[in-house]
């Protein structure tokens, strides 16, 4: 038999002014199971809490109902009070008679009647409450960072700094990501390599950091604190442990006609290559699509010239398995393909380039050694047109609906750098809006206009036409002077929209994290939890979550690291006990629940059962991981047999509330 205590709070006059609290206490004292029903001035005060604690002890209460303010306000207060008096905290229920009764109603009679009904529902519910205990789940003290760009590097360094082991998985042969390809950074115009490469070296030398370059995540299992990840280490046909990065093989390789992806295909590399001079790890990789030895067994030059015998044509992909407590996603971005925007003639004309291509064209390690020359005829361009928002801010059918955020600033940077280095060059920037929120950003843009005399023209370019004389006709409307402009340019630079890396979506599926329609990872809360995914233990760093510039990326990388460190610091995590659980005897193993679980908390096991007809059978049944389940209850409704139920909000509890209200 239940022994329930009811405590009605006056909340000063907040409740007592419109609800006859004495009448409520009196009415509820007659409810089945209620052994004590009291009212008090301020239930949440220390003396109010003591009243509850004493009653629990004196009356040996098996359940407590507090009629007071919203449970969102003081549920925890009263749970703690109950716990300190030896009652399981989950045997406390709150009837919200302030926010949802006294504050919204005026007439005492009806408000009191409603308060009694709300109290009665809470009593009915608490009858069915069960003691719940939070589970503890151990935390593996190692983190995985997926993606080795500046976001991943920053996150890894910060986590390593805190003393935890961290692995970086990078699909390319070197870490560094997009930032390594960038020439200078805004708004300070310092050289990207100068600030990035020391961090890359630091990462490679940190004893806590392991870099798996040329590797990809193959499979993710487990849950917060305890992920098991399979990583595919792709065959690079070079023994990483032996290669010294001397580069002799790359010099001697006879196959030199391979488009160099690091330079955006603007020049060539050899079949065995090191992406760039400061690559980390500085190890050669053989491109099997071009290597003649791998393609038809005829060559072997690299193997002959390698003094340490690092070349291994027989190398195969390797799968390694590792356990992690936290995973940080830092898969970054890519510029979109521009093939479908034929109005900008990107595919037809080599002198129409993307901004990232321009970065390489201007970079000292780029195809022209840092001299800006037209790709087509290697001549100096005198008129350069920049087109903003190519593929950004579009209708869904035309491109990306979002603003790519970084283009305004890097274009100002490009324009400024060009005007500084080549003052004889006219630079036009066609913009829709110039968006420069950020520290020193607008000042930077104004400098481009005021000091460097870059021509900013409001209006999107309508048409780009390569001409027979090598010039490029640019047609655009100047919306402010209301005239159509026709510019004969030597080069056109397109600020292509950026999109999440193609590997992000399959990865999100593996991680059971959410993505938006643009394939950006969705944060757990857009304002308050911006670096966590909704899946516990998975954190987001950098542009995989949305377009970002470098400072923001680094900030988010560090924030994600802080969140991961917070998790790794714990020896175990306390789980919310209000989670789903499956009655295995009723479970059909139909997988409906698994399909609606946003957290991947449900798995299936084959289990032997003694059936009611005295036989044994192996049945497939659902099993909820309480460490992963967040307690939404979606599965409870998807389950046709009612095998799934939710602690704290069980079917019978909610129906008891319904019954009590509908009396």
């Amino acid at each position: 038999m239940q022994r329930i205590g009811v405590f009605v709070c006056h909340c000063g006059t907040n409740i007592a002014a419109t609800v006859d609290v004495k009448a409520v206490a009196e009415a509820l004292s007659h409810e089945p199971g209620v052994v004590i029903s009291q009212d008090y001035q301020y239930m949440c005060s220390e003396s109010g809490q003591n009243l509850v604690k004493d009653a629990i002890k004196e009356h040996k209460l098996s359940g407590v109902v507090i009629c007071s303010c919203s449970p969102r306000m003081h549920e925890n207060t009263f749970r703690k009070a109950a716990a300190s008096a030896g009652l399981n905290p989950y045997l406390v229920e709150i009837a919200n008679i302030r926010e949802q009764c006294s504050w919204i109603h005026k007439e005492i009679a009806t408000a009191t009647e409603k308060a009694i009904i709300l109290g009665r529902a809470a009593v009915a519910k608490v009858h069915l409450n069960t003691p719940l205990t939070s589970m503890e789940s151990p935390v593996v003290k190692r983190a995985l960072v997926i993606g080795g760009g500046i976001a991943g590097i920053q996150t890894a360094l910060d986590i390593a700094e805190a003393g935890f082991d961290v692995d970086i998985v990078e699909k390319k042969p070197t870490i560094g990501g997009k930032m390594a390809q960038i020439d200078k950074t805004f708004p300070t115009l310092d050289c990207a390599a100068c600030i990035l490469t020391p961090k890359m070296v630091e990462a490679s030398q940190n004893e806590h950091i392991t870099i798996h370059s040329f590797s990809e995540v193959e499979e993710v299992k487990g849950f917060v604190g305890n992920f098991t990840v399979k990583i595919r280490k792709k065959a690079r046909y070079v023994d990483e442990t032996k290669c010294t990065g001397c580069g002799l093989c790359t010099e001697k390789c006879p196959m030199k006609k391979v488009p160099n992806e690091f330079n955006m295909g603007l020049d060539n590399r050899s079949a065995v290559y090191i992406p760039f001079a400061q690559a980390v790890p500085k190890v050669a990789t053989i491109d099997p699509n071009y290597c003649m030895m791998l393609k038809n067994g005829k060559c072997g030059v690299c193997s002959k010239v390698c003094s340490v015998g690092a070349i291994d044509y027989k190398q195969e992909d390797r799968i390694i398995e590792e356990k992690y407590g936290a995973i940080v996603v830092a898969t970054g971005f890519d510029p979109i393909k521009l093939d479908k925007y034929d109005e900008f003639a990107y595919s037809q004309c080599p002198d129409v380039v993307t901004s990232l291509e321009l970065e390489r064209l201007m970079n000292a390690a780029g195809p022209n050694g840092g001299t800006l020359l037209r790709p087509s005829d290697k001549t100096h361009p005198h008129t350069i047109v920049f087109v903003q928002c190519v593929g950004s801010r579009c209708d869904d059918s035309k491109g990306k609906p979002y603003c790519s955020k970084i283009c305004c600033m890097y274009t100002a940077k490009h324009a400024m750098l060009i005007r500084e280095k080549y003052p004889d060059t006219e630079v036009y920037v066609f913009y829709i809006d110039v968006r420069t929120p950020g520290k020193n950003f607008d000042e930077f843009y104004r400098r481009a206009v005021e000091q460097y005399n870059v021509h900013y023209i409001k209006g999107m370019v309508g048409k780009v036409t390569p001409k027979s004389d090598g010039k490029i006709g640019v047609q655009a409307s100047d919306l402010l002077s209301n005239e159509q402009l026709h510019i004969d340019a030597d080069m056109v630079v397109l600020a292509a929209a950026i999109e999440p890396d193609k590997t992000a979506r399959p990865l999100a599926t593996m991680l059971t994290t959410q993505m938006d329609t643009n394939d950006f990872f969705t944060e757990a809360h857009p304002k308050l939890r911006p670096v966590e995914s909704a899946t516990a233990g998975i954190f987001l760093s950098g542009a995989c979550q949305g377009p970002k510039d470098i400072p923001e990326t680094v900030a988010q990388g560090s924030a994600a690291a802080a969140k991961a460190i917070g998790l790794l610091c714990k020896n175990s995590i306390t789980c919310n006990p209000c989670v789903a659980h499956s009655d295995e005897l009723k479970c059909n193993g139909c997988s409906s629940c698994e399909k609606v679980c946003p957290y991947g908390a449900i798995t299936y096991i084959e289990k032997e059962f003694r059936m009611p007809d005295r036989t044994t059978a192996i049945r497939r049944v659902a099993s909820v991981n309480p460490a992963v389940c967040q307690g939404c209850g979606a599965c409870t409704v998807a389950c046709p047999s009612g095998a799934m139920d939710l602690n704290g909000f069980s079917n019978s509890q909610i129906m008891a509330e319904v019954d009590a209200i509908c009396k």
Partner: protein, 148 residues
């Protein structure tokens, strides 16, 4: 359901509110002292997707005259996708009730965020009025469950 010959019909309305948005929205309308009728009684659930069609039928069985389900706005679910499942489930359930000839206005789903205290109160006022117009729920009531 309470009928008094001299008094206006007072419908009984059960509102299921998700803990994160709508229940907080209801709290907010309290904090802002925005009135809505006492007819509305709120049941707190973790997420709108916790509401089993069985609960709604149960309420009608036991004499509720209207049932309203409130959750976070689509896209804002605390659990990321719960209200999307709710939306499908309730659309189909309501359509079925309609198919069986149960008055449409007795059921509703409304998305109320934690900031929309005013919307919560307005919704409850409006819904109560709509149900009041329909009169007592006769088509989906279990007569045996009435007061003896």
């Amino acid at each position: 359901m309470q009928v008094n010959e001299n008094k206006e019909f007072q419908p009984l309305i059960v509102a299921f509110c998700c803990n994160w948005c709508s229940y907080a929205g209801a709290d907010l309308s309290g904090t802002n002292r925005l009135n809505y009728p006492t007819n509305v009684k709120i049941i707190r659930v973790p997420c709108s997707c916790r509401v089993n069609p069985m609960f709604i039928l149960r309420a009608f069985q036991r004499g509720a005259d209207g049932v309203i389900l409130c959750g976070c706005h689509p896209g804002d679910c605390h659990y990321t996708s719960g209200n999307y499942f709710t939306r499908r489930r309730m659309t189909l359930l309501f359509s079925m009730l309609d198919f069986l000839g149960i008055e449409r206005d007795r059921t509703r789903v409304e998305w109320v965020s934690a900031a929309e205290g005013a919307k919560f109160a307005a919704t409850m006022n409006e819904f109560t009025e709509a149900v009041k117009k329909l009169g007592p729920n006769r088509r989906l009531e279990d007569l045996r469950c009435r007061k003896q």
